[in-house]
Amino acid sequence: METGYNFAYLDEQSKRMIRRCLLKAVAIPGYQVPFGGREMPMPYGWGTGGMQVTAALIGKEDYLKVIDQGADDTTNAVSIRAFFENVAGVKTTTRTTEATLIQTRHRIPEIPVKAGQILVFQVPIPEPLRFIEPRETETRTMHALSEYGIMHVKLYEDIARYGHVATTYAYPVKVNGRYVMDPSPIPKFDNPKLHQSPALMVFGAGREKRLYAIPPYTDVESLDFEDFPFEPQRWEGCCALCGATGSFLDEIIIDDRGRRRYQCSDTDYCLQQQNRETSEKVEHTPSQGDPG
């Protein structure tokens, strides 16, 4: 562990400020709380919002897991994990079930999160209304007055253009029947996991200095039309590595003829599945070929 830094990099006053804002965010589910964002030793867009929240929440006893689009082994995930090992000396893990604190970029783990766990999301653009209404003063007023008609304008445009709601990530939700919220660019596949989740979910936007939260067991409803109800993605194939069919699959083009295969975006889940298979049927090796 590095010396010369305060525990978890931020000074105690900054962490207190962030915790106060988090309390407010938890008290008003889905409401964007402005906070005094600090400079982190990395550029905006790399998860500075999430890291500040993690820094404010993390304790010596925590197990930290960091994922980037589901993977524990990408540069971003590895670096952030190493960062907290260095400045907080905490234990880290790649196992979802083991972690007490999970900082995530754009995914929710496949293994259901439990009560007592905290998910910290990295958020690039916290304001869901901005695409339609660029004026910040106006979007704030709209949130204040629950004027969310224009959110459906975005979905309407999708259906008009593509015949279905083509928004597949950062799919807007209404939290606790009140605030419309951008769940960060998680795939809409993950949206149902937000609803009545036993774990606390906290969202941090570093560039725009906003925090928001979904407390445990809160209703989270994905916006839709009566005749175009919300539907998570589905895949025709299964994971080429573990054979899973119910997980979020990444599509990988494997040759110049456009052949493709799928594999789990959640590396920990995929590994668990593979291990289970090997322990159950030692002789079986998952097919590496085209599942379709």
Partner: protein, 265 residues
């Protein structure tokens, strides 16, 4: 039975008393009394700087008058004190019962979403949640304002000025408002396009029992559309009455000047 006193004298839908708005330099509007009734077009005329637009903004809650009162009779017949309404209630009025058509379509339209979404927005804002219903209602309104419904998915930026203006009108009328404000809606349009728009407006006012407050500096437009007219100068109403009475027999020296300088209408 129609009695002498009742004919044409149902209570006003909007009534303003002693409205005053001062921009801080003595300019604005002062001491302004005004009544607007259902199923009529009230034209507000006067030259630039006479306070027409300020008046329109005060009536439509975009500016808050420094003194005076403003009362709106809701669809249920109950009077609402507009100046005492909460922001939420004002905004709700503006997206349901009222409409506001800007002079420049880009102020009243969302140029980055399709024509259909522009019209449908007010429906969605009023809790329409069935895509098919929104779609068909929107198409019906495009047809009504003579925008080819097959262009429902095009961006308004691809439309001509006249079409954009008609789109803006559809966007406002789709929730069947009772009171609509228009700021020079035909300004900047070709004469032939203007005529089309005027015809459309007249038909809509008549068919939908609208009250329309129309700010214009074009007396010919006022002549064709408006039942009543008020003439403004330096923030005050100097003359009001039937449109053809003011145009044919103007009393105030300034009205006479205005009418005398107008092209044959």
């Amino acid at each position: 039975m129609i009695s002498d006193t009742s004919i044409g004298m149902e209570p006003p839908i909007l009534s303003a008393r002693k409205l005053r708005y001062d921009y801080g330099n003595g300019k604005g509007i002062a001491n302004l009394d005004l009544e607007v009734f259902s199923a009529e077009v009230l034209a507000v005329v006067g030259e630039s700087g006479s306070g027409k637009t300020t008046l329109l903004k005060c009536l439509s809650t975009h500016l808050t008058p420094q003194s005076g009162s403003l009362s709106y009779r809701s669809g249920k017949g109950e009077p609402l004190d507009i100046l005492q309404l909460s922001t939420a209630a004002k905004r709700e009025l503006l997206r349901t019962d009222w409409g506001f058509v800007h002079q420049h379509p880009h102020l009243g339209l969302r140029m980055r979403v399709s024509a259909g979404a522009n019209v449908g927005e007010r429906l969605m804002a009023n809790a329409w949640r069935h895509y098919g219903d929104i779609r068909s209602e929107t198409g019906r309104w495009l047809d009504m304002v003579e925008v080819d419904p097959s262009r429902i998915d095009e961006a308004p930026s691809l439309f001509s000025g006249g079409m954009q203006q008609r789109l803006q009108i559809a966007r406002n009328l789709v929730t069947r408002p009772r009171l609509v404000f228009m700021d020079e809606p035909t300004g900047g349009l070709d004469v032939s396009v203007q005529a089309k728009l005027l015809d459309l407006l007249r038909r809509l006012v008549f068919d939908l029992d609208l009250a329309l407050v129309l700010v214009t500096h074009d007396l010919a437009v006022a002549r064709m559309l408006a039942d009543r007219m008020i003439v403004m100068r330096e923030g005050e109403i100097i003359e009001s009455g039937l449109t053809d009475q003011i145009l044919d027999d103007p009393q105030h020296p300034y009205s006479q000047l205005l009418v005398a300088s107008m092209l044959a209408a």
